[in-house]
């Protein structure tokens, strides 16, 4: 049976509450299925307790729910062990943990890190924050003229023997899906640890971190139908063991005195303080639910919408499309020639089409492609063809208002 978008969409209460809106800002954050809301309610209303203290059964139950969520996440991405899943407050926090945690252990003065021009600020700034004081050097893979990652340059830059190579799975600006398996293989061949920023990639495709063989993979809950305030740092056990904890505090600790502190084992060593307990549990429930959906159908549906939307927009001479129709996870990025993207977004918003305009936290990318920003339509599995058509009509109207002929 084919994937039924209406049935799927009915599980998201946001759309009933906002029937007049067309939401095409899914790369910023996704809406939430009822099962996620129910999980939060259930936890707070009946199972709420702090975890990992083991002094009463309420706490034991909460701990079980929390550790079950770790297992759900591990299953969802194909991790070998639940202990390889570290819960953070989001992708940004996970990347900061990596940048901080690898400095001084894996990264020594004079060492190099390789990033790409496609990266979100979250995969640039944390490295910068610590590189300077540690004398570590950043290299950046450029783009080709048609906005693709320059794979020849990637291979060339690997010759500098970076210790860490960090890149996005899917570009949040262009929707471009990177050849991550190939990139991991090449990077590991020169002895680098690999980090994949999966903030956009995690929803695109079923992933298997063991098959990918990446050392680290990170993503946020809120972009994959889960709650805000929680993210995931997956790492191979050996790779996680290289990390100095970014946060110190309770429960990560085996022994504390004022002279000396001994850390706990993984995953607790990297989860200081009271975790986002309810959010972790709700994320686990969400991913467990999502794993049982027709993910192939969802992907096909999104691809169909993408092709449909892309063709219509391509046919409009006033538009310049920045993203390509192939190898794209579901993002159409464009500009109206001569117009500022925020003006376009404002006119779409008047028509209740929610899109994002600007530089999408990827300033280096825009500097590289010489655009002041762009308008981004980002699709999700619950997006309908009617919504895409409404967006296209609204874009036509915006063009008419901006460039009267």
């Amino acid at each position: 049976m084919a994937f039924n978008v209406e049935t799927f969409r009915q599980q998201f209460p946001f759309f009933q509450a906002n029937p007049n809106w067309v939401y095409l800002d899914n790369a910023a954050t996704s809406h939430k299925p009822q099962i996620m809301l129910d999980s939060l309610q259930h936890f707070y209303a009946s199972a709420n307790s702090n975890i990992h203290r083991g002094a009463h059964s309420l706490g034991d139950q909460a701990t079980q729910l929390y550790e079950q969520a770790r297992q759900h996440v591990a299953d969802f991405i194909g991790a070998e062990q639940a202990e390889q899943i570290i819960f953070t407050s989001g992708t940004t926090a996970a990347l900061n943990q990596l940048a901080f945690g690898l400095m001084g252990t894996v990264l020594q003065p004079g060492d190099r890190i390789l990033l790409t021009t496609l990266e979100h600020h979250a995969n640039i700034v944390p490295w910068q924050l610590h590189c300077q004081s540690k004398g570590v050097v950043l290299d950046v893979v450029p783009l080709t003229v048609d906005h693709q990652l320059d794979m020849a340059a990637f291979s060339r830059l690997l010759q500098h023997q970076p210790k860490v190579v960090s890149f996005c799975h899917v570009s949040n600006v262009l929707g471009q899906v990177l050849p991550v398996a190939d990139m991991v293989q090449q990077a590991q061949a020169v002895g680098a640890l690999t980090v994949i920023d999966g903030a956009q990639g995690i929803l695109h495709d079923t992933i298997d971190v063991q098959q990918l063989n990446t050392d680290f993979y990170v993503f946020s809950g809120h972009k994959i139908y889960g709650p805000t305030g929680v993210g995931v740092l997956y790492g191979k056990t050996k790779a996680l063991e290289c990390l100095t904890p970014l946060l110190g505090g309770g429960e990560m600790i085996q022994h504390v005195s004022f002279d000396h502190t001994r850390y706990h084992q993984l995953p607790f060593r990297l989860e200081a303080g009271t975790s986002a307990i309810a959010e972790v549990i709700a994320l686990g429930t969400t991913l467990h639910w999502l794993a049982k959906q027709d993910r192939t159908g969802m992907r096909q549906h999104k691809q169909q919408l993408l092709q449909h939307g892309w063709q219509q927009l391509e046919a409009m001479p006033q538009l310049e499309l920045l993203s390509s129709a192939t190898n794209n996870a579901g993002i159409i990025t464009f500009n109206v020639r001569g117009e500022h993207p925020t003006d376009v977004a404002t006119l779409l918003n008047e028509q209740k089409i929610a899109v994002r305009a600007g530089q999408h936290c990827a300033m280096p990318l825009f500097a590289n492609i010489h655009h002041p920003g762009a308008v981004r339509l980002s699709l999700a599995a619950y997006t309908t063809q009617a919504e895409v058509d409404a967006a296209i009509n609204a874009i036509r109207m915006a063009v008419e208002l901006l460039c009267p002929s």
Binding site: E339, D343, P404
Partner: protein
């Protein structure tokens, strides 16, 4: 200075036209498209400030678009003048609607002017007032500093 003098004069003329003819039109609650058509038309009446005349000291950072605001006080005539630009057309039009209420004021009137009230005159659609309010309030703040130091 001669280029800027021309620019000040041209801007003043356009703003005066906007104040007299277009402001009342915006006050008519019409269809949203009509309001935007008016705003766009209005932006097109204003001279363009060339890139080299947009010093970073004049930059007012809004959300995702930029605006430049230059202020001149003609002490002989006792008049305040403004020249401005934005990379977003709608922002430029909004600045025009705001500044056409102030441009050419004498110092006493300018210092006494309640800038927040000028914002009300914009008669923006609800969204516009929300999302642009951050950018516009930086402009208002900037103008208030001018008031204080004038």
């Amino acid at each position: 200075m001669s280029f800027m003098n021309d620019c000040i004069a041209e801007t003043a003329q356009a703003l005066e036209h906007i104040r007299q003819d277009l402001l009342p039109e915006l006050a008519n609650p019409g269809h949203w498209q009509e309001r935007y058509r008016a705003l766009m038309g209005l932006a097109r009446q204003l001279p363009t400030l060339p890139e080299e005349r947009r010093p970073s000291s004049a930059l007012i950072e809004g959300c995702e678009s930029r605006a430049w605001l230059l202020h001149y006080f003609d002490s002989v005539e006792d008049k305040h003048y403004f020249v401005f630009e934005s990379d977003a057309r709608i922002v430029k039009a909004l600045l025009a609607v705001l500044l056409c209420q102030i441009n050419g004021m004498d110092n006493k009137t300018f210092k006494a002017c309640q800038l927040e009230l000028c914002l009300k005159e914009l008669h923006l659609t609800q969204h516009l007032s929300q999302s642009r309010s951050k950018g516009l309030s930086s402009v208002i703040k900037h103008l208030q500093q001018l008031q204080a130091s004038s």
